[in-house]
Symmetry: C2
Subunit: 769 residues, 2 copies
């Protein structure tokens, strides 16, 4: 049996142990849920700040979503114990916490739901989860089928973690009227102001079922007894029905159920946060039961379908197709439609997530651009984060000044204008100031924050957050940012039609980079406060950084000869079987003039990892210089799955691209490639753009759809369906036949399909050499 099967409609894993961290995710506008194949679940909802309703067993630190989460016995999860009352044996679904090896196991991510199936002890069990499109609540379905021709006596015990809610007040009881375990708490606070802030919080967690349980328990420790989570005392003895009084709550129900020969029984559950019991009653009425479950599946499916994007491909690589046609667009849509369920996204993330939406729902991208500009500072700079509601607070990283945020306005703008031709946006007004004026103010701020060499100050960081000590004294500069500013300037020249002073400044900055940071085979990363260039050949660690090379290809700083050397250097020093590392060799100790980056674990996060966001930008830049072969190779590595052992090494389940794979490949091959499991990443917008505009070369222009592909040479034929400004283009790429372009069978001069008078469906043939 295959370990992993990927189709556009589902991705299935057939082992809970081969890739124990393999995970999928669901979301809606109010919550996000991340589940491992073994049944551990991390969920957060927005009220409006992110909060949890199923907690760890200790007071958790507030932090961003962490990579490579290590699971442990009491990690929050959603489990069902099944005990055969005759044989006295038990197991649990999906796999935790009992961990008995099943006879058969599948974990399936559908676009809109998660599903586990387990065969064990002659039972078939299906355990399914779906989220409504606009409510923070989990809908679960449990189906148990008796495979035998005899009657079975079973004890079915769903166990939903609640965990440590609050040191101030916590508890749980069974509410018979609602047929629900309701855990209650008071979010801890000490200052009066916080009382008023916390007033509206949903401090309850509930579990309700469409069938009456035979017993229940609300106290975690009492449920477990000496047997612990893997062999709970009460599973044997029966649930005791206790009320949790300041004791760690759990929501546990017991159904002692006889199953006739071959009979199937079904249960539905709703689990989630609530403000009060009245809300539990409402949620129960809206979401509990078989009809509600089916209805929500349909609604959730329809919601995800809205994020199908503008491209469908058919290539010799069906695995690639399945991922790109469904899962990549799904991840792009998740980012753009929810802003990662944060309330103060970093400005660069916000703008790049919007860039993904250019290809999904361009109106959203336009709104995001204008909303971001509404937060612009008076001096033209952009804030470090975009507060999405009044009263949002800047989280920790957004309290640290970074200098790159303005750049991303132009990168988003280019993608948006090329795709939509909505140049009217430049004449829009935001809070009394025109977009054009605002964008030029941003450019002027970027020009102002340069040193005498015309290199851009880095302050406490640029795109690379943790590079926080290069320029904190006010003198250090960023080579990458200098190139990015030059790129932004050139974009503005093209998009605005205004040449000066922007074009000259771009040229000057590219020249400055060549003067001060060209290191023979690549561009250096920057120059510190103390005038020390870094990211250069003589550095034993961190000698080659990927980002400056990518942007040198885009900004025009690199000549063709330089480009060749850079690409070769990257191949030699940064490419690994798992993709291209962000920098190399990774830092193994603090370098005080670079900063926090160098204290990160080598090979993880940005420090020498295969940081997919950077890798995706490199891929994009390669497509811009028509190095499609290499771009495809790196894109393919990013998806993993060349063979199944590759997935196993990475622990990666191909329903999303993680923010990084472990790097440090040469020093630590054991861990290299391992997935961070984090699905929040600016990567996906760029992979999608690289695929559409780069590899398949279907990019918008003022005149129409430009067709300039750079497909890998070994693809003799490929097809793409591109939605563009209301029309559908069915494009067939063939290698080796007649070169050139035809539209509905007629040859096209040049490589632009000019806009039709009426939108329609068109057949396009592309002959490749």
């Amino acid at each position: 049996m295959r370990l992993i099967t990927l189709t556009p409609d589902s991705c299935t894993l057939t082992s809970a142990t081969a890739m124990p961290r393999a995970s999928g995710f669901l979301w809606n506008c109010k919550m996000m849920l991340h589940a491992t194949c073994r049944g551990f679940v991390t969920a957060q909802h927005m009220q409006p700040e992110p909060a949890k309703y199923s907690h760890a067993p200790v007071v958790e630190g507030k932090t961003f979503m962490l990579p490579e989460t290590a699971h442990y016995a009491h990690h929050p999860g959603r489990f069902v114990y099944v005990r055969d009352l005759v044989s006295q044996r038990h197991f649990s679904v999906p796999h935790e916490p009992v961990r008995r090896a099943p006879k058969a196991f599948t974990f399936t991510q559908h676009p809109e739901r998660l599903e586990w199936s387990v065969e064990q002890d002659d039972l078939d069990i299906r355990w399914s989860l779906v989220l409504p499109v606009d409510e923070a609540v989990e809908l679960w379905r449990l189906e148990i089928r008796n495979r035998l021709d005899i009657e079975r006596a079973l004890r079915i015990v769903p166990y939903f973690s609640v965990g440590y809610m609050s040191w101030m007040n916590q508890g749980a009881r069974f509410n018979a009227d609602l047929n629900a375990v309701i855990a209650s708490s008071v979010t801890a606070y000490q200052k009066i102001d916080d009382y008023f802030k916390n007033h509206h919080l949903k401090d309850k967690t509930f579990l309700t079922c469409d069938r009456l349980p035979d017993a229940f328990e609300t106290r975690r420790e009492d449920f477990e007894g000496e047997g612990g989570l893997s062999d709970p005392d009460m599973l044997r003895a029966g649930l005791a029905g206790g009320e949790a009084l300041y004791e760690t709550p759990a929501a546990v129900l017991q159904f002692d159920q006889t199953l006739e020969a071959n009979e199937t029984q079904v249960w539905h559950f709703v689990f989630g946060p609530a403000f009060d019991e009245a809300e539990v009653a409402c949620l129960k009425a809206a979401y509990l039961g078989p009809e509600a479950f089916e209805r929500v599946c349909g609604e959730a499916r329809a919601y995800v379908e809205q994020g199908r994007g503008v491209l469908a491909i058919e290539t010799p690589d069906t695995h690639f197709d399945a991922f790109m046609n469904r899962w990549l667009a799904r991840q792009v849509y998740y980012h753009g439609d929810t802003n990662r369920l944060t309330t103060d996204p970093q400005t660069r993330n916000y703008l790049q997530d919007a860039l993904g939406m250019v290809f999904v729902r361009p109106q959203s991208a336009r709104e995001s651009l204008l909303y971001a500009l509404s937060k612009q500072n008076a001096d033209g700079s952009m804030p470090d984060g975009i507060k999405l509601y009044d009263g949002a607070q800047f989280s920790y990283i957004n309290q640290v000044p970074h200098t790159d945020h303005c750049v991303w306005l132009f990168i988003l703008l280019e993608a948006y204008l090329d795709e939509t031709d909505d140049y009217a946006v430049l004449d829009a007004e935001v809070d009394g100031q025109g977009v054009r004026a605002r964008l030029e103010a941003a450019l002027r701020w970027l020009l102002k924050t340069r040193d005498h060499r015309r290199l851009s100050y880095i302050d406490q960081g640029d795109w690379n957050d943790p590079m926080n000590m290069v320029g904190w004294k006010g003198k250090g500069v960023s080579g990458w940012l200098t190139l990015a500013v030059a790129y932004a300037l050139r974009l503005w020249v093209r998009l605005s039609g205004e040449t000066q002073p922007w074009a000259a400044e771009a040229e000057a900055m590219n020249a400055a980079m060549n003067t001060h940071l060209w290191d023979g085979d690549w561009f250096g990363r920057g120059i510190t406060d103390d005038d020390v260039a870094f990211g250069i050949r003589r550095d034993p660690e961190g000698r080659l950084y990927l980002n400056p090379q990518s942007f040198a290809l885009l900004s025009g700083a690199a000549s063709e000869a330089q480009a060749e050397r850079m690409v070769q250097a990257v191949a030699a020093e940064l490419e690994t079987p798992y993709g291209v590392e962000m920098l190399g060799p990774p830092y193994t100790k603090m370098r005080e003039d670079v900063g926090r980056l160098t204290q990160k674990s080598p090979g993880v996060a940005e420090n020498g990892s295969v940081y997919n966001h950077a890798a995706a930008f490199y891929i994009y830049s390669l497509t811009q210089v028509k190095k499609g072969e290499k771009a495809f190779e790196l894109m393919r590595k990013m998806l993993a799955g060349v063979d199944e052992s590759d997935y196993v090494q990475r622990g990666q389940f191909p329903v999303f691209i993680p923010n990084y794979y472990r790097g440090d490949f040469h020093a630590h091959p054991r861990t290299a490639g391992r997935s961070s499991q984090l699905f929040n990443t600016g990567t996906v917008a760029w992979v999608y753009r690289s695929l559409i505009e780069g590899l398949f070369g279907l990019k918008g222009t003022r005149e129409g759809l430009s067709v300039q592909p750079c497909l890998p040479a070994h693809w003799t034929e490929a097809r793409a369906t591109r939605q563009f400004r209301g029309s559908t283009y069915h494009v067939t790429y063939r290698r080796g036949g007649t070169p050139g372009l035809t539209l509905n069978g007629r040859p096209v001069v040049g490589n632009v399909l000019t806009l039709p008078e009426q939108p329609g469906v068109f057949e396009v043939e592309v002959g490749l050499q």
Copy 2:
């Protein structure tokens, strides 16, 4: 077999399951360690802010020490797996994580060390821990004896939790030169300032042994495999020796050891935090091995002995004697010598912990008084916390303004002057201002912060921290604080010899209380911003508060008749088998004019719990009105142990008094009495003072030692040895014989033993009716 045996030299528990949370603690000037009988350990060291080196499996929230910690499989601990290589069976010591029921078990708190002994599978295992007196490091000894007359082949696997160290950098490896597992991390930070702050942090955790292991492992998850912590895969297969690369570290060693018939083998371990490997080497040299272990035991014992205090008693209640003669003084000493290992103790805690030191090392109490005064504000008020070093930050609760801190200066002063007669302290200067002037400034501030009725404003809280909405608008008053101020004024009149205006103000405040808050049978707790009296008869919840009654007895506000009614009301409404509740009935829902208190879980923390600090003050006030019978009764309830089932109900191990026992006795008898397990509490200074000055009536005066006991009537004889101003008094109390007092056989007129010309040893006889 007895479940618990208490002596002055040890306290032993013979079951790991009867009282699973039973816990003991060790400390030194740099760290504190709290261990449960089952082997879970919470340790923190000061650098100088509290930090951990053995962590939970997730990023923990920074918070104060929490009550009633719920343990879970991966709670940090120190365990030893023992696997018989022939029978293939395994167990773990002390009890977690395998939890196999042992043949015999003991957990023993000695004053200076902890020791577990387990008999299982024909092995005797002893597992012992001691801390050096001035280093943050744990010294462990493992002794295994083969009880059989045949050779045994064993696999011994000590497992020390390291846990999730940092999202920024973590890992572990075995350093063969040091024979140590060394886990490394970088404390996570994002701001540059924090880099410099974190510079000196001990970010490593190490485990070293005086014997060479056969194998090791540093990766928690790999060690466990599918078997989990209770049946780790590697215990069977042998440890694989991996390096942890950003994986959750653990320190695990493997010793495959043959034990001859009846042979004993011994291992020593050192575990703790370190800055670098050089420090590991130093700590290893200083503390590893049998000699070091024995030496440290001796030094630690000598250190604890310095805290023996000034009283040794011999009564018909030997359990009471054992606790009071050793364990209470030990806990008093812990508080006073370490300030609870905080860096910004709340001012009232700091002053009361110093009050305990009056009876242990009076010089420290003097220093604390003067140090506290050095932090006095210009307006005479005291800050909410006392910063113990430059750069200490006010923790959360100390950012909330409370109005009672000044009061405790006078309460400490009284105890200090009575014990030492060091009235010269009043003439000392603190930062250019005399102590007398500072104290009067404090009084004036207290007088200034009263309303027109002469009732004291409560602001956002008084002694009762979470009563934060009574007076946040600036009008609400505290009945308790009014009485406490009156008490402080009267103390000052007595101690300073200055009568006015203080005596008149005290009288006026007592009168104001009687006018505005006498409720017929007791004093009310306060009046809110909106002029609503509370803590009164008509309140359905929180109708009777203990603290105002205690202080009314001390301040003189209560007439004798009122005192009788109050004591009766307290007995009727607040006394429970587990002591006297702080208020009753507990609040079950928010009362917005009282505040956070009412949102606390009913029966825990202050909300209707047996809050021992308040109970101790009540006991003290009872002794001041010579209600010794009731005082003793409540003191005895505070210690628990009337019979063993009482300990079991409370889960309390009699080596410390916890800050609270669960209350809400009438509504929730199941959980009532349960110990918070927190040994940080202002309780102990007051119990000690009540014992010395109250029950045994051996209180200092200007002339000498006053003898005015109020022992329980059923004690026909009791003895006490009292150290006082350099002399030793052996006091024998006898009931029923000749009343009166003799010194070395000679009758004494009055009840004061005037100071001898030379300190000496004196025999005192007290005849009681």
